[in-house]
Amino acid sequence: MIDKFIDTAQAALADVPDGATVMIGGFGNAGMPAELIDALVAHGARGLTVVNNNAGNADTGLAALIAAKCVRKIICSFPRQADSWHFDKAHRAGELELELVPQGTLAERIRAAGAGIGAFYTPTAFGTKLAAGKETRRIGERDYVLEYPIHADYALIKADRADRWGNLTYRMTARNFGPIMAAAAKCTVAQVRETVPLGALDPEVVVTPGIFVKRVVRIAPLGKAA
C-alpha cells in the first residue's frame, strides 16, 4: 500500500544532509510551511541553499533558519524588507550569499526543473543588472536572456488537504510556489491542514498529483488536537 503520511515534521526531515538545496514554499504567510521550517531549524543541517521568494521576516521561520547559521546561500526575488534583519546582517557580514532572481524567472526556473527543460529564454531582465554576464539572444523582435532550471533536494511546502498517495489541494493564494516546487525537488515534504481517505479528493480538483510528493505531515491548526 502506498502511504506517504508520516507522523511528525521531525521525522519527515530527518535525512536532510548538510549542503542540501531546500525549496521553501509560501508567499507571505500564505503557504508558508511554518512547522516544517521549525523542524528544519531543530534538525540543524548546515550549509543549506534555500530557494524562497523572500529571505525571511522577523525572527521566525526562514529568518530563524538564517539566525541559526544553517543557510549558506539564498535564491530569491525579494530579500530586503523592513523586517529582514537576520538576512541583512548575515549578508552584510559576508556569511550568506544572495542570488537575486526576478520573481517570474524564479518561478519559471523552478517549473523548468520539474518539467525537464534544460534552459529557456525569457524576456525578463534583458538589458538590466540582473542579466549581467548572462547569455542573450534576439528571437523575432524581442531580446531574451538564457536561464537555467533550479533543482532541489527537498521542497518544503504547505498544502490544504492530502490523501495517502500524496495528492494535494491548496487554499486560495497559499497555492503560490507549492505546485512547482513539489515537482522540482527530489524529496517533497508537504504539511497539510487535513488528511483525507483515498478517493475523497475530486480528481478534477487535485492541484499537485501525488507523483510529485514523497511525504505528508498533518499539522493540526492551532487550538485543535493533533
Binding site: F27, L100, P102, T124, K129, N176, F177, P179
Partner: protein, 216 residues
C-alpha cells in the same frame, strides 16, 4: 498650480482603464488605483501571487491570511475570480495577457526605460520581486510617480541613472503634474493639472516634451 495628490493621481489612472481590462496594480502607490476604478466597469485585477478577480479590502476582522495580494495585504475575491500557481501567474504576465500594469518609478527615460527597483546605492540590498516581469510583459505599462524628486529634479530623464527595470517599456506616465505618453517620436503631454502651463511643465521636466493635439 494645484498639484495632484496621490489619490488624485490614482483616480486619473483609474479613469483610463477600460471595461473588461485585465490589470495588475504594483505594490505601494499603484494599489490606490483599485479604490478609484469606476463602479460601472468590470475590470479584473491580477496579482502576481496567483489570483485574478481581486475585490476590495476585507472588513476588519474578516481578513484571511491565505487570501492576499502581492503586497501581502489581505484582499477579497470577486465572483468570477480564480487561483493558480506562481509559474502560471507569471506566464500570464510574461505571455502578454495583462492589458495594463501600473507601476511606481524612480525614473522614466524619454525612450520609456523604467527604473523602479534599485537605487544603485553600493550598500543597498536590492529586491526586485515581479517588477521586471510586469514591465516587460504587460501590454500597457502605466507609471505613477511624483514628477520631481524631493530636491526638485525631474524624474523624467534623458537616460536613467538608476539601474533599469526594463528598457523601452513605459507607455504612459502619470505624475502629480501631468499625464504624458511615451511614443516613438518622444514624450507627448496628454493632460496637465490646473494652472500649470506647458512652458512651466517643460521647464520642470528638463527633457523635450510635445503638446498633444487634443487632451484625452
Amino acid at each position: 498650480m494645484k498639484k495632484f495628490d496621490r489619490r488624485q493621481i490614482a483616480a486619473r489612472v483609474a479613469r483610463d482603464i477600460p471595461e473588461g481590462a485585465y490589470v495588475n496594480l504594483g505594490i505601494g502607490l499603484p494599489t490606490l488605483v483599485a479604490d478609484h476604478l469606476p463602479r460601472d466597469r468590470e475590470i479584473v485585477l491580477h496579482s502576481e501571487n496567483g489570483v485574478l478577480g481581486i475585490g476590495p479590502r476585507p472588513a476588519k476582522g474578516m481578513e484571511d491570511e491565505d487570501l492576499i495580494n502581492a503586497g501581502k495585504e489581505p484582499v477579497t475575491l470577486l465572483k468570477g475570480g480564480a487561483f493558480f500557481h506562481h509559474a502560471d501567474s507569471f506566464g500570464m504576465i510574461r505571455g502578454r495577457h495583462l492589458d495594463y500594469c501600473v507601476l511606481g518609478a524612480f525614473q522614466v527615460s524619454v525612450a520609456g526605460d523604467l527604473a523602479n527597483w534599485h537605487t544603485g546605492a553600493p550598500d543597498a540590498i536590492p529586491a526586485v520581486g515581479g517588477a521586471m516581469d510586469l514591465a516587460v510583459g504587460a501590454k500597457n505599462v502605466l507609471v505613477m510617480m511624483e514628477h520631481l524628486t524631493k530636491d526638485g529634479k525631474s524624474k523624467i530623464v534623458e537616460r536613467c541613472s538608476y539601474p533599469l527595470t526594463a528598457a523601452r517599456c513605459v507607455n504612459r506616465i502619470y505624475t502629480d503634474l501631468a499625464v504624458i505618453d511615451v511614443k516613438a517620436d518622444g514624450l507627448h503631454v496628454v493632460d496637465m493639472v490646473e494652472g500649470l502651463s506647458f512652458e512651466e511643465l517643460q521647464r520642470l521636466s528638463g527633457v523635450p516634451l510635445r503638446r498633444m493635439a487634443t487632451a484625452a
